[in-house]
């Protein structure tokens, strides 16, 4: 592996790993981002079509 190869690998792997960790850290630290206990949330104010 050449020095150029090491630089490109470290930059590519480092940048994608950093972005991944940052984005998920951000999601987990959003206030109120906790799992709801149920899966089907009804919002009466949204338009619905009857079946």
């Amino acid at each position: 592996m050449t020095p150029g190869g090491w630089i490109i690998m470290i930059f590519s792997v480092g940048s994608t790993t950093w972005l991944f960790v940052w984005a998920f850290w951000k999601i987990f630290t959003i206030p109120g981002e906790t799992e709801k206990v149920h899966g089907f949330e009804f919002e009466p104010d949204k338009p619905e079509r009857d079946e």
Binding site: S15, A23, E35, E48
Partner: protein, 569 residues
């Protein structure tokens, strides 16, 4: 009836990431990067991610949530809403055809992965070389003759196919949060853990066979990431120089120089630098294609998934997070596992193919056969591919389910049953016409490549020009945890469509139609050449049949007669 919703933002991000992460991350990406030179390819790859991948993702997330707020979850409904015309619904049919048809063959590949994982775990995989593992694959999937892929023994794909088909439909029947989200929140972390275990094993391999000092992990990494390619070229009878093989590592290059010096002018060593590689249109096509197909944009999936979000849910950070998860799996895991492991055991010359199937089902099974503990690492690797495939195939079913519910006014049970029949028939077609994987290959080209380009182009133009970039930004930022930088506005409106259309035109003229000195691709010749291929023609017939059925539903459904007035809320 209550609209289905995601259970959490983390869940929807994992579901979208699961949709994107698939075989392409672990097999197609390393093959592309190695073929086109790590440094040059990665430069084109990151540029494509920035000006095509990310904007397309954000556009789809935003349009999907907008359509969902109007009561639509299918691509016809959402595009009809955006374009405010029934023609939008007809165009949106592409967003149903694509995932449904891709599911028909993707589930077949998914069954291969499960079959390989089970056979590795049971100790049934012993191959002396890549040719032997290729022969096993050929028998396993029935490549030699039509109708031979339906056996149900451990060494035939039929039983695994039935299992994964049923598994997909059980999960999809359970719904958005209890099926797709539940499975993805289990499968994606499991996939990551398995990949990290295999990664640690691969990076600690060193030089497995001291008798072959060139076959080592460092050379495997160099094969993929070195920006300058060192090629041994031989002189053809017409005087031109042609690539003979690639040289990686000091010892191999020194030996190559000695060989070239002794060949009295018929061999030479040539270094291909990053600038020369970037001048090749094929490299850009490969980089754009990798970003494009890897992120599941233009697929009809993200737009449907995001329709189940509420106005207060973030789409900007979610889109970025799902993209980043896909990139992590692709660059970090895929980029460090597949080729280093292959080179460590087989050497550069032993990698007989850099194609997705070649690497995955010819080269890697052989590699795990040589690896200490390879039975379990092989099982882990193919099981992680299987998990990645299931999270993707689930995402291919939801657009069809949403469309059938919407257009026919039926409930989930009925829509699952109808889609089950359609996809089962299509899947049977693909599996029956297994000779040379012709049906799969044809559908993958015309639907999994060609139609995706078309739909993606329509979607980004609809977002940038009909919906409007300013409005799109306002909509995207509702409930957003982060902001899209303002310089993305011209990217959405101009750069992205122009880049996409340019790449599409270059790809069509050079690679498909073979204009400018080349010859038409086999996909064109199969349909229009002197020796037409029956399976290819039938495959196109299948796509037209499915498309006609969906278009008929749009034509007859009152749901798509009038779209709600498009008032910004």
């Amino acid at each position: 009836m209550a609209r289905e919703r995601w259970n959490s933002q983390f869940g929807v991000v994992l579901a979208v990431a699961g949709s994107a992460v698939g075989l392409g991350n672990f097999l197609r990406f390393p093959g592309n990067a190695a073929q086109y030179g790590g440094g040059a390819f990665m430069l084109a790859y990151f540029i494509s991610l920035l000006i095509l991948g990310l904007p397309m993702c954000w556009a789809e997330w935003t349009m999907g949530r907008h359509g969902g707020a109007k009561g639509f979850s299918s691509s016809p409904g959402i595009l009809g809403c955006i374009l405010r015309h029934k023609a939008g619904a007809y165009v949106g049919v592409l967003g149903v055809i694509i995932p449904v048809v891709i599911y028909m063959y993707y589930v077949y590949i998914e069954a291969w992965c499960l079959g390989y994982a089970v056979n590795f775990a049971l100790g049934n995989m012993h191959f002396s070389d890549a040719a032997a593992s290729g022969a096993f694959w050929s028998e396993f999937i029935g490549e030699k003759e039509n109708g031979t892929a339906l056996g149900v023994s451990l060494k035939e794909v039929g039983g695994f196919l039935i299992f994964v088909f049923i598994l997909n439909f059980i999960l999809i029947y359970r719904g958005i949060s209890k099926g797709i989200e539940w499975f993805c929140t289990l499968a994606m972390p499991t996939l990551l853990v398995l990949a990290l275990i295999v990664l640690v094993r691969v990076l600690t391999l060193g030089t497995p066979d001291p008798a072959k000092p060139d076959a080592n992990v460092a050379n495997g990494l160099g094969f993929m990431w070195n920006p300058t390619k060192v090629l041994m070229e031989s002189k053809a009878p017409d005087g031109t120089w042609q690539k003979d093989r690639e040289l990686v590592g000091d010892a191999m290059i020194a030996a190559g120089h000695t060989e070239a010096a002794a060949a009295s002018g018929t061999l030479r060593i040539r270094e291909v630098g990053i600038i020369e590689q970037l001048q090749r249109p094929q490299l850009w096509l490969a980089a754009v294609g990798q970003i494009f197909f890897s992120l599941s944009v233009g697929f009809g999936v993200i737009i449907t998934y995001s329709s189940y979000l509420t106005k207060k849910d973030d789409v900007v950070l979610s889109g970025l997070a799902a993209t980043s998860a896909n990139e992590f799996c692709e660059v970090t895991l895929g980029g460090l596992i597949t080729l280093p492991a292959s080179v460590a055991f087989l050497g550069v010359s032993g990698i007989v193919s850099l194609s997705t199937f070649g690497l995955g089902f010819h080269v890697l099974p052989c590699v795990f056969n040589y690896m200490p503990g390879g039975q379990w690492f092989g099982a882990a690797f193919f099981f992680l591919l299987f998990l990645a495939a299931v999270t993707s195939s689930l995402s291919m079913l939801q657009p069809g389910i949403a469309f059938l519910e919407e257009s026919m006014g039926i409930k989930r049970r009925a829509s699952v049953a109808i889609l089950g029949v359609i996809t089962a028939l299509g899947c049977w077609f693909v599996v029956y016409f297994s000779a040379d994987v012709k049906a799969l290959d044809t559908l993958d080209f015309w639907v999994g490549t060609f139609l995706i380009y078309i739909l993606a182009t329509i979607q980004i133009i609809a977002f940038g020009w009909k919906f409007g970039v300013d409005r799109g930004f306002r909509e995207a930022h509702e409930g957003a945890a982060i902001r899209i930088p303002a310089w993305f506005k011209p990217v959405f409106k101009f750069v992205c469509p122009i880049f996409l259309i340019t790449i599409f035109v270059v790809w069509m003229t050079q690679e498909v139609l073979g204009l400018g000195g080349g010859k038409p691709s086999s996909y064109i010749l199969d349909l229009f050449g002197p020796e037409k291929n029956k399976t290819a023609i039938l495959s196109i017939g299948l796509v037209l049949l499915v498309g006609s059925f969906f278009a008929l539903l749009v034509a007859r459904s009152p749901t798509y007669k009038n779209f709600p007035e498009d008032v910004e809320t």
